[in-house]
Subunit: 479 residues, 2 copies
C-alpha cells in the first residue's frame, strides 16, 4: 500500500536529524500513517503484523504463568475513577472524557480508559470471595488513551496499543514474585524476539506508577543516547484492594485484603525496534518479528527457469514456517533492493541465470550487508540458520552499544557532562523525589531510569542535598 | 473465577422465561460479568477464549482472501463523520461523544467509533493512487460503541467486540465478488466452527446498512422463534469514494473512483452459540470453540492409580491438540458433573476404580447425554472422533430446528399468525420501505430478515399496498 510514499527516495540520515530519520522510517517502511486527530495513528499492515508477532510470543509466555485473557470496558465512570486518590491524580490531567451519549448529557461523565486498574479492581471485588479464587491472573490486549501534548509515532501517542496484566494474590511474596517474573518475561522478549537488550530494575519513588508500592521497569538505550522505558511491572500492594473493598475469606477463616499487581508493554516496543536497529537505509527488523523474513529477488526474471525456481524455493521455505515473499513486480532489481532494505527484511535472496547455472543463491544480511552463498539444495537448512545468526548479530550489536554507554558520576557536574555524551550514568543519591526534581532541572532532563543498587559505599553523600546517599540509580535523558 | 456465582444452583428453565434463562447462562457459565456502566460488559476468560477461537478461524480465512490486519483510531472527528450523509444519519443518534481532552474543551468533538467506514475512507484517500494499489483488503479487530437504550449481553451492547473488513477494488464486479465471498466465509464459520446454520441473503432497502448500495446478511434462528442477525457484508459502491474524494489512476490513464466493501461479525456470535445450543442445564459448546473440549472427572480420586491415570490421559490428549482439563478439586463428582454441564464442555470423561480395573473410560456427550465407552488404549483416537460426531450432531439438531420453522404466508393475517408461532415466514411484497414499515407495525415487530428470491410468480400483489410484488422475503421477529 501507500504508493504515494516513494520508498526509494532517500530518507534523512541519522546524523543530520535523528528525529526526522525516525519519522521518515515510520512512514516509508509503511509501519504507520497519521490519522486525522493529532496523536491517533493508523497502524498499517506492516507495522501491525510486527505487533501481532509480539502478541503471539507474550500470549504464550503469559499463559505459562497462568494468566488468562479478558476484555473489560473502554470507559470508566468518573465516580469510580475517583476512588483511588493517587491514581486519579496521576491520570486525570491527560484524560479524554465523553460527556454525551445518544444525544443526551451523561450525568456521570465517562473517562476513556488510560489504564484499567480501576476496572479490574471493580471486577475483582465482585468475583473474588475466597482464597480458593486466588491467585487470579488476568490480561487484556486493548488500546488506551492519554491526551498527550507532544506525540510521536509508537513512542508517545494519544492512543496506543498495549497489554495490561492485572493479578490478585493471597500474599505479598506471591505478588512480588509475579511482578518480577513478568519483568523477566519482558526482558526475555527483548532478548529472544526483538534483539533489544534492556537495563532492568526498580523505579525510584519519583518515577513509580501512580498508586503503586513499587514499579519495576525495562529500559532500552537509543542510538541518540536517550533511554526508552519499554515495559513496567507494578507491585500495587493492598492500596486498590482497600480503596475498592476487595476482600477474601482467608485460610484462617478471616477476611483479608489481597495483594495486587499490574504489568504492561505497549507498541512503544516498535519504537525500540526501529531506533535500536535501523540505519540510514531504513528499517532493520529482527527475524522473529519480521512480517517478511526473506525476500527473493529474481535477477533477469524473464530468463528461462528463474521465476519458477524462485517460487519453488519460496514454497520450500514456507513449508519450514519461514515468512517469505518473491518480488516479481516489474521494478528493477536495484529498486527492489532499496525497497526491501527500507522495509528491513532480514535476508534478501538473489537468483539470476548465472546462479541458476551454478546451482547457487546469494543471500544478503540486512543488518550488515554481508553476503553468504549457498547451494540451492541446502537452502532449507541455510536460511533458518542464517536467520538465527542474524538475530545473534543484531542482539550483540545492540548489547555492545548499550554496554559501551554506561558511565559513572560522582557529582552533578560530572553527571551533566556525561549525560551530554548520551547513555546511562550511574550515580548515588538520597532517593528523595525533591532531589530528583533538582537533578532533572540542573541536567536539563536527566531522570533516574531505575535503581542500580539499593546500597552505597559508606559515607557517600547525595550530590544534591548533601545528606546520606541511599541508592545508586541509572540516570539518563529519556523519551 | 466468580466463586460467588453458585454454578450448581439451578438456572431458570427455558420454558419458564427464555430471556432470564439466557442471562442466567451468561453469568453462571462465567462468560461475562456486568460492568459499572450500563451496556458495557466484562468479557471473562471463559467467554473471551471462545471469541479468540473465532478470531483464529476468521484470521486464517481472511488471510486466504488476501486481507491484512490493521488498527485505526478509536475516535472520529465530528467534522469527518459528517462527510457521508446517509451514514451519519444512521449512526449519529447512538453516538458516544468525547468533548473534553486534557482538561480542555475540544473544538471538534470526537465520536467514539461506532464503525470505521469513515476512517478507512480517509486512509484509502491518502494511500491509494494507482490501480497497482488495488485491490486493497484490510481488516480490523476492535471494539465499537453504540449508545443503545436496551442492552443484553453479547446481543446488543453499548460496547461490543467485532471485526470490520474494509476493501477497495477497481471494478464493481470485484467488489461484489468480495462481498459474497466474505459472506460465504461467515456462513462456513457457522457450519464448521459454531455448528450454527444460517439463512443468508440480501437485505431489503429498508434494512440495508446506512450508506450501502446493498447489504448481505447471515441470520440464525433462536429457539424462541426469533431471528438473530449474525453478520453482514456490504457493497458500498462508490458512495464513500465520492464523499471522501478517493481516486486512483486507472489502467486507461484516467482518474477513477474505486468500489468499496465492508463486512463484519461481532461477539453476537457468542449469543447465537448460547441460544442455539444451550439447554436447561446450561451452556452447550461446539467442540471447535470450546475453551475446554474434554473434562476428565476422576471417580474416587483418592483411590490408587486414579489421578495418575487421569493425568496420563490428559497429557496424551494435549499432545493431540485437544483442550483438556482434569478436575481434581475436592468437590464431589456430582457437583463437578453439574458444573461442567453448566459450562457446556462437549465431552466429559469419567474414570473410577472399576473403569481402571476394566481398562476403560466412560465418555458422556453434553449435547444429548449419551454415554460412550472406550478402552483406555484407544482414547487418543476415540476422543477426536467423538468431538467430530458431537459437532455433527449439534449442527444437525440446529439445522433440523431451522428447517422445521420456515413457513409461507400470502397475506398479512397469515403472516401475523405464522410469526406468532415463531420462525421465518416467506412472503412476497413490493419491496418498498413504507410497506415494510406497515408490516412491522401490523405484525408487531415482524421485519424482512433477507430476500429469499428477487422474482415472484406472475400476478402476485403486495399484501400491503396492492401493487405488484417484486420479491419474496424471509420475515421474522428479530433480536
Amino acid at each position: 500500500m501507500a504508493s504515494n510514499v516513494n520508498k526509494n527516495e532517500a530518507i534523512t540520515s541519522r546524523e543530520v536529524d535523528f528525529a526526522k530519520w525516525y519519522t521518515d522510517v515510520c512512514r516509508k517502511a509503511e509501519l504507520m500513517d497519521y490519522g486525522s486527530v493529532k496523536g491517533f495513528i493508523n497502524y498499517l499492515p506492516y507495522g501491525y503484523a510486527i505487533w501481532e508477532e509480539i502478541q503471539n510470543y507474550l500470549n504464550k509466555r503469559f499463559k505459562e504463568h497462568g494468566a488468562q485473557n479478558v476484555y473489560l470496558p473502554l470507559v470508566i465512570p468518573s465516580s469510580l475513577f475517583n476512588k483511588e486518590k493517587e491514581h486519579i491524580e496521576g491520570f486525570a490531567p491527560e484524560a479524554l472524557v465523553a460527556t454525551m451519549g445518544g444525544g443526551e448529557r451523561l450525568s456521570d461523565p465517562l473517562i476513556i480508559r488510560p489504564t484499567s486498574e480501576v476496572l479490574f479492581s471493580d471486577l475483582f471485588k465482585r468475583n473474588v470471595t475466597s482464597y480458593r479464587d486466588l491467585p487470579m491472573l488476568l490480561n487484556q490486549w486493548c488500546s488506551v488513551v492519554r491526551w498527550e501534548k507532544t506525540t510521536r509515532p509508537f513512542l508517545r501517542g494519544a492512543e496506543f496499543l498495549w497489554q495490561e496484566g492485572h493479578c490478585l494474590f493471597e500474599t505479598a511474596e506471591q505478588a512480588r514474585e509475579n511482578v518480577l517474573s513478568m519483568l523477566q518475561v519482558y526482558d526475555d522478549c527483548g532478548k529472544d524476539l526483538l534483539a533489544v537488550p534492556f537495563i532492568k530494575g526498580k523505579k525510584t519513588e519519583h518515577e513509580k506508577f501512580a498508586g503503586a508500592n513499587a514499579t519495576y521497569t525495562i529500559e532500552a538505550l537509543m542510538p541518540d543516547g536517550q533511554a526508552l522505558q519499554s515495559g513496567t511491572s507494578h507491585d500495587l500492594g493492598q492500596g486498590f484492594a482497600e480503596a475498592f473493598g476487595i476482600r477474601f475469606l482467608g485460610r484462617s477463616n478471616t477476611l483479608e485484603a489481597p495483594y495486587q499487581t499490574s504489568w504492561g508493554v505497549s507498541t512503544r516496543l516498535l519504537g525500540a525496534i526501529i531506533m535500536v536497529h535501523g540505519d540510514d537505509n531504513g528499517l532493520v527488523l529482527p527475524p522473529a518479528v519480521a512480517p517478511i523474513q526473506v525476500v527473493i529477488v529474481p535477477i533477469r526474471q524473464d530468463a528461462e527457469g528463474i521465476l519458477p525456481k524462485c517460487n519453488e524455493i519460496a514454497a520450500k521455505l514456507k513449508e519450514k514456517g519461514i515468512r517469505v515473499l518473491v518480488d516479481s513486480t516489474d521494478r528493477t532489481p536495484g529498486w527492489k533492493f532499496a525497497q526491501w532494505e527500507m522495509k528491513g527484511v532480514p535476508v534478501r535472496l538473489e537468483l539470476g541465470p548465472r546462479d541458476l547455472a551454478e546451482n547457487k543463491v546469494v543471500m544478503t544480511k540486512r543488518v550488515n550487508g554481508e553476503k553468504v552463498v549457498a547451494s540451492i539444495e541446502e537452502i532449507e537448512e541455510a536460511i533458518p540458520n542464517l536467520l538465527q545468526v542474524v538475530h545473534k548479530e543484531m542482539y550483540q550489536k545492540a548489547k555492545d552499544f548499550l554496554d559501551s554507554h554506561i558511565y559513572e558520576a560522582h557529582d552533578l557536574e560530572e553527571l551533566k557532562e556525561k549525560l551530554n555524551q548520551g547513555g546511562y550514568v550511574k550515580m548515588a543519591f538520597c532517593g528523595d523525589p525533591e532531589c530528583e526534581d533538582k537533578i532533572k532541572e540542573i541536567t536539563k532532563g536527566g531522570t533516574a531510569r531505575c535503581i542500580y543498587k539499593e546500597e552505597v559505599p559508606e559515607g557517600t553523600l547525595c550530590p544534591v542535598c548533601g545528606k546520606e546517599a541511599k541508592l545508586i540509580a541509572y540516570f539518563a535523558r529519556a523519551y
